[in-house]
Structures are given as structure tokens and as C-alpha cells.
Symmetry: C2
């Protein structure tokens, strides 16, 4: 591994508190690898030998059943992939595919488990990462079970705005068919949901979306801090445990 890579890895949340010698154990046999867009990194059901850490690019996790498939989440840097499977030393439940050119750190699963055994701080960091991921899926599940597709889209747009510059113009990060699957609908219905949001001041042109009436959009979307992982709840001070928040396409919470 190159020195510049080591520096970047050092900054990952899961390695923040780790002693130097443990860091060496954890990253023993680790290497950074580059993948082109559209690469299948991992198929669901595969045994997992490496922990993947996404340093650059976007990766989609998706699931398949009976000739259907659905995008479960989309990860952006810096995120771990399949940490749960590594911790349990078991098969992956989701497939992973690069959506664009990616740079990924691959760490042998054994090294991760050994480092956890040797350093409680590292094991705690892993726990925090997993706890954040767990809560991410729970939020996602509430989103799917409690809202209809237009409401999900509206909240997605508001979340995009919140993690961006907060202006009234947001850019979609993915192809619409990918976004549709992530939001649990068909591409056709994503189109129609966008059309339905016209009356809330939403205008789409390619991947650029203009939100000209945030109040109306919020009235329809009814964003909720227990589902949508952004922005502190009304008037609270930022800085406490849960106010520091981070979004990865309705993905996971940021472990502290």
C-alpha cells in the first residue's frame, strides 16, 4: 500500500482511535484496488474474504429474488461495505456493483477480526459503524413501509438539498432507473412522481432538479428526523450525539 493511501485509510472512522501496531495488524495484506464502472465486486451468497472500504466513486448494493432485483442502498466515500458479513465470517446478503470508477481498499477479513480481538477501541469503532448501518436500514424500511412513492421521492429531494448547498437546485447523483429502484418503484412511476411534484414547484431537466417551493414540498413530504437522516429537528442545537448527521442516499448514519 502506498504511503498516501495509508494516510487516507488512517482517517477512516473505524481506524480513528486505533493504536499504530493494531493499525498495522488490521491493514496487513490490505491493498487499494481500482475498478471500472459496472464491475460486480461481489455476488449475493458469495463468501466474504475481504472488507471493502470505498475510498472513491459510488457502489450500489442490490438484492435479487425470482428474476427481480432491487437496489438496497448506494454508498459514497468513505464507507465500509459488507462489514457485517466480515464480522460474522459469512456469506454476503447483497451483491455489490460499481456505478462509476471506484477506488476501494480491500482488507482481509481475518485481519479485521484479529484486530478486533486485540483492540477494544477498534472493536468499538466497528460496533459504531454497524450500529449506524443498522439504523440506516431501519430508516429505509420505515420509509418504504410508511410512505407512498411520491412521498419517498419528495423526501429524497429534500434530503439531497440538505446535504448539498441548501440552494433550490439539486443534482441527482444517479441514473433515474437506479434511483427508481432505490426508492422502491419503477422508472415509469418515478417519471410520474416527478410530474406529480410539479404542483409543489419541482421541475426536472435531466439530472438537474429545481425546487422552487420548498414549503409546499415539505408540506407534502413531511420529513421526519426518525426516518430522514439529515437536519436537526426543529430548533435544536447542533452538536449533540445525533445532530451530527450524514446522508448516503438514505443509507447509513455516520458513526461518530
Amino acid at each position: 500500500m502506498r504511503a498516501s493511501d495509508i494516510d487516507r485509510v488512517r482517517e477512516l472512522p473505524i481506524f480513528a482511535d486505533v493504536a499504530p501496531e493494531i493499525f498495522r495488524v488490521a491493514t496487513a495484506g490490505a491493498h487499494v484496488q481500482r475498478f471500472p464502472a459496472g464491475t460486480m465486486l461481489l455476488l449475493e451468497g458469495d463468501p466474504v474474504d475481504f472488507l471493502y472500504v470505498l475510498l472513491e466513486g459510488q457502489v450500489e448494493l442490490h438484492g435479487t429474488w425470482n428474476d427481480h432485483d432491487t437496489v438496497m442502498t448506494i454508498l459514497r466515500p468513505v464507507s465500509t461495505l459488507i462489514l457485517a458479513a466480515v464480522v460474522l465470517d459469512t456469506a454476503a446478503l447483497m451483491s455489490a456493483r460499481t456505478l462509476e470508477r471506484c477506488e476501494i481498499l480491500m482488507i482481509p477479513g481475518d485481519a479485521i477480526r484479529t484486530a478486533m480481538r486485540l483492540d477494544s477501541h477498534f472493536a468499538m469503532a466497528v460496533s459504531r459503524d454497524l450500529a449506524g448501518s443498522y439504523r440506516g436500514v431501519v430508516r429505509n424500511m420505515k420509509n418504504i413501509k410508511l410512505r407512498n412513492s411520491t412521498e419517498r421521492l419528495a423526501n429524497y429531494l429534500l434530503a439531497l438539498r440538505a446535504v448539498g448547498d441548501g440552494g433550490s437546485i439539486v443534482r441527482l447523483h444517479h441514473e433515474k432507473r437506479v434511483l427508481a429502484s432505490l426508492l422502491g418503484m419503477t422508472p415509469e412511476n418515478l417519471s410520474r412522481s416527478f410530474a406529480a411534484l410539479n404542483k409543489c414547484g419541482v421541475a426536472v431537466q435531466g439530472s438537474v432538479v429545481t425546487l422552487s417551493n420548498i414549503a409546499a414540498l415539505e408540506h407534502l413530504a413531511k420529513p421526519d428526523p426518525l426516518i430522514d437522516n439529515y437536519a436537526p429537528r426543529g430548533g435544536e442545537i447542533v452538536g449533540d450525539a445525533d445532530a451530527e448527521i450524514w446522508l448516503s442516499e438514505h443509507g447509513r448514519e455516520k458513526p461518530r
Copy 2:
């Protein structure tokens, strides 16, 4: 805490490998409490001060939004509740309610976090529990996004059979309206889904379900080890990492 309670707690997966002095730290200030059926243990958004360990009874975790609510999972002994929130020291994303009389061990969150810092084996056990929970929700999510309601019911019945005695008669563990919400449908549609499964040999009488044509039911359900957490995949030997499996109403995987 009574000596008999201590013995039971000792057997919990997360305390299996823990040194005696750490066990004492972790359970400092812990106590067992009994709750009647229908008790709200925790409201979503509440700060979480205790880790709950369900020793007896059933607890439902549910989420709310905009006057709707949905059952996210149902836990049976022995399970931890809201471990993720305890690890991150943050607010709960789901409400918890007892479905029947329950016996619950309550451990101060501070004690858990301290014990994790002191003992890497305990921190690893927490990681495994969280990893199992994470994978449980992922399975649940795939179930919801990839299957229609009748398919979900069919798989639920097969899962019940698998964790039971494997006979052709299974007992539903919950009221039908709770089951309906858990499976992501209305009570009315649960009725209709049961009716639709008649042609696969499914007959319902109250909470007793007779499955007289497993082959037909499986043909419709198409159970998948990457969604339905029971039974080893075809012909594999039980005993390896993931074959030892355990179901809690499509809940979580058993941490080893």
C-alpha cells in the same frame, strides 16, 4: 439482581466470552423488570438510557409516521433491544411495546459502553449481535421490496414450520392484525392472502394453520436462504458459520 437471574444473563450470547470482572461492570446497576402486556417500553425519539434484554415474553418494535404505523419486527427471548442506539448513545428510531407479559433485563447504557472499552471480547460480541441485527433488517427489506403480500405470507408460514417441529401444523404467534402489519399489509389483505393460499393446501382456523401441500406452497413461496433465515441451503452440512441459524419473525440472525 437475583442469583437465578444472573445465571440466565450469563448465558446470553453477548456475555458468553466475557471475563467475570467485566461481567460485573457490564451488569452493574442492571435489574430485571416485569411488564404486563401492552406496555410501551420506549417511544421512538426517546433518548436511550438502558439496554433492554428480553428474557421472557414478546416485544414488538414499530415505527410511526404521519398517523400511520407499522410493525418493524417482533422479538422473542433471548434478544437485545435497541443495542444500536445504546452503542451510539442516541435516540431510538422505533417504539417498543410488550405483546404479552414480559421479563426484561435492563442494563445502563454507560455500563455497556464501559464494558466494551475494557474488554475487546465483549465489544466483539456486541459487534456480532449488531451484525446479526443488521442482516435481519436487510433480509426483511428484501422480503418487502421483492415479494408481493401473498408470497410474503407463504414464506412466513414456511419459516414458522421450519423453526417449529417441521410438521404440517403451525401455530401463529401473534394476532393477525399484528402479523399483517409485520408482513406489510392490512388485516383485510392478510385474510385474502390466506384465502389465496387455499389452493396450496393452506387452511386456517384461528391461530392454527394446516399446511397440507408443502411442495405447492414452496413452489409459490420460493424460499431463499438469502432472505429467509432458516434451514440450510440444499444439501449443505449443518455446522458451518451460517448454517446455524435462528429466526425471530423475520427478525435477526443469531450471532454466533
